[in-house]
């Protein structure tokens, strides 16, 4: 029973494809892909709508307000209202803009974000596109985002746009390194770039109790934290929303966009966030595996989306809690702390592997991380650097 | 019907020639770099094509060389563009016609 519920979507697709029996192979392939794409779009656009309203409500709660509560029950139809508003707004293109580039940028950015979703396993046998180097694909596609952001900034021919784009690219490039490097230990340990394999490697439970997710190893935990922070930056979320800090540069590279183009940017941002979170779930949080053996009867995709939602909630929570960082702090943090720590995670994973992947490895890798962490924080003199600032000329 | 090796090679030749065109005809230093990148990419295409069409090798030499060449191309692009910026800072131009300090 539970098995059939688990595979209900897979079976549905199979059934759909059998209806096409007799058509040429490429037709079936194309149809299969289209089905996957539509499913993805449907799910994630819904999720986007849901999250956009939920975010507003959660933020409101954090700030002791109600949030949207007028449209529909509990304000749940708010995104529909927003969408309609966006669609009927006038699409303004600046006169001196580079029109083609200006037009292409939101499309490219949305395309990249959605493409990245394609390689994540959402459930047992529920990977839309199984690619041998799935993780690489993810990052390769993700890296095009930078180009898109640049196009937006350049195409708008606006100084705020350009500045925002510059900031965005600088931080994205800076944090792409730790992002990729923190994914590496997992790849090394699993010795595969395929997301399915990675998820499979996290099956099972130590002592029948603790799931074998990588987040429960020292290196995994450290890497996950680094990955999460890099994810925050990559999706331009608070506290790293410097590129679109409205108090400084209006809305960054999106300044000159309005109407549906703006909505596309907005959507792409959220979808990028989903993608990164999904990858995080896949890499560190055991993918669609249940957190306990007793809970395995619950369908796998439920678990995946539960973990994803948890992560998204943390995103929102962080946004509601932390102030925006300064650009130089962010860059220093990336190059002086994140990068060395990411390398350390690789080292620690190697130590963990060669010390036998057991308790011994666990302790050794913990030691490695602890030593480097302590040394780094001493070297960087964090206590002094992150103390409250003293303004020399303020008085 | 599947394409032959010749087809791939001609595409690669075309790409190479376009790269050459960019490098020869545009007066902007960045175009020279773009052209060189394209020529390198054309060479990569040749490597992959020959690997695919040639006898089966283990390890895949063509792929390996292509990978390394991509890495080297990245390094080349980084240094080249840094030079463009440095030159621009110094001479206030990126027009290669004007950059003839080494004229004999």
């Amino acid at each position: 029973m539970s098995k059939s519920i688990d595979q209900i979507f897979v079976n549905a697709k199979q059934w759909l494809l059998t209806c096409l029996g007799g058509s040429p192979t490429w037709v079936i392939q194309v149809v299969s892909s289209l089905v996957n794409i539509f499913a993805l779009l449907a799910v994630f656009l819904t999720l986007f709508a849901l999250i956009s309203v939920l975010e507003r409500k959660i933020l409101a709660r954090i700030q002791n307000r109600y949030g949207p509560n007028r449209v529909g029950p509990f304000g749940l139809f708010q995104p529909i209202a927003d969408g309609i508003k966006m669609l009927i707004k006038e699409d303004i293109v600046p006169a001196r803009a580079d029109k083609i580039v200006h037009f292409l940028a939101p499309i490219l950015i949305a395309a990249a974000a959605i493409l990245a979703l394609g390689v994540i396993p959402y459930g047992r046998k529920m990977t839309p596109f199984t690619i041998d180097g799935g993780i690489l694909f993810f990052f390769a596609v993700g890296s095009t985002t930078e180009l898109a952001v640049f196009m937006a900034g350049w195409g708008s021919n606006n100084k705020f746009s350009m500045l925002g784009a510059m900031r965005a690219i600088a931080q994205m490039i800076s944090y792409e390194l730790p992002l990729i490097l923190t994914a590496l230990p997992v790849v090394m340990v699993v010795s595969s770039l395929t997301p399915d394999r990675i998820v499979a490697a996290q099956a099972g439970y130590t002592f029948g109790l603790v799931p074998r997710w990588f987040v429960f190893t020292p290196w995994g935990a450290a890497a996950f934290i680094l990955f999460f922070i890099s994810g925050l930056v990559e999706s331009n979320r608070t506290p790293f929303d410097v590129p679109e800090g409205e108090s400084e540069i209006v809305a960054g590279h999106m300044t000159e966009y309005s109407g549906f183009k703006y909505a596309t940017f907005f959507m792409a941002e959220y979808i990028g966030m989903f993608a990164i979170s999904g990858l995080g779930v896949t890499l560190f949080l055991g993918g669609w595996h249940a957190p306990a053996r007793a809970l395995e009867f619950v369908p796998s995709y439920v678990w995946f989306f539960a973990k994803l939602s948890t992560l998204l909630f943390v995103y929102i929570w962080v946004r509601g809690t932390l102030p925006r960082t300064r650009v130089d702090q962010m860059m220093n943090f990336a190059w002086k702390f994140m990068l060395p720590m990411a390398f350390t995670c690789i080292l620690a994973a190697a130590v963990w592997h060669y010390a036998g992947r057991g308790l011994r490895g666990w302790l050794w890798s913990l030691l490695v991380i602890a030593i480097v962490y302590t040394a780094l924080s001493t070297l960087l003199d964090t206590r002094r650097k992150f103390a409250p600032r003293v303004y020399r000329f303020a008085e | 019907m599947t394409p032959t090796l010749q087809a791939f090679l001609i595409v690669s030749t075309a790409l190479f020639s376009i790269g050459l065109l960019a490098a020869l005809s545009r007066r902007h230093a960045i175009f020279i770099l773009i052209g060189i990148e394209m020529m390198l990419a054309a060479a990569n295409l040749n490597f992959i094509a020959f690997w695919r069409f040639g006898p089966h090798h283990q390890p895949p030499i063509g792929v390996m060389i292509a990978l390394f060449s991509i890495a080297i191309a990245a390094a080349e692009a980084a240094v080249g563009l840094a030079m463009v910026i440095a030159v621009y800072r110094h001479y206030r131009t990126t027009n290669v016609d004007q950059l003839d300090q080494l004229r004999g």
Partner: protein, 160 residues
């Protein structure tokens, strides 16, 4: 391997490349350049070298293209001047194209179709990189580091 796909990809790639070489606006050329590489990566996919294709996208679009547009941005004042076209390069390029094509077409031994081949997995590439190609790999690593440092030093503000 599909001829239709091949032709599609080839036309796409070459068109983008030609655009990159000839478009008047430098920014558009750079973007076309990125586009050409998407096409090239697709032809790598077509040839069964998925990993190389992904690496190509990763490196060229993620890094090189961004670098180029950044350079364009940093030398913006100069970029916006129109410089015209140096027509002297065209005959040479055409001649090279002609010569090479002629020799390719003349060579009969390469008029072959692709043999069947087991899929190339990432694992195989990784194994090769870590065994027989480990020395070149280290060298490339060193080269990249050196290039990184060199590029940094090149763009450090000149002290006056």
């Amino acid at each position: 391997m599909n001829s239709g796909a091949f032709i599609l990809i080839a036309i796409f790639t070459l068109a983008a490349a030609l655009a990159a070489a000839t478009l008047r606006k430098l920014m558009h050329a750079a973007l076309s350049f990125a586009l050409a590489f998407v096409g090239l990566a697709s032809s790598f996919f077509l040839l069964g070298a998925e990993f190389v294709g992904l690496a190509l996208v990763f490196v060229y679009i993620g890094a090189v293209a961004v670098l180029i547009v950044f350079t364009i941005l940093l030398t913006r004042r100069d970029v916006e001047k129109d410089r015209g076209f140096n027509w002297g390069g065209v005959p040479i390029a055409v001649a090279v194209f002609g010569g090479l094509t002629w020799s390719i077409l003349k060579t009969q031994s390469i008029a072959i179709v692709a043999p069947r081949m087991p899929a190339l997995t990432v694992k195989q590439i990784g194994a090769a990189l870590m065994t027989s190609y480990v020395w070149p790999l280290q060298c490339v690593g060193l080269l990249l580091t050196a290039a990184l440092i060199g590029a940094l030093i090149l763009v450090i503000e000149e002290k006056r």
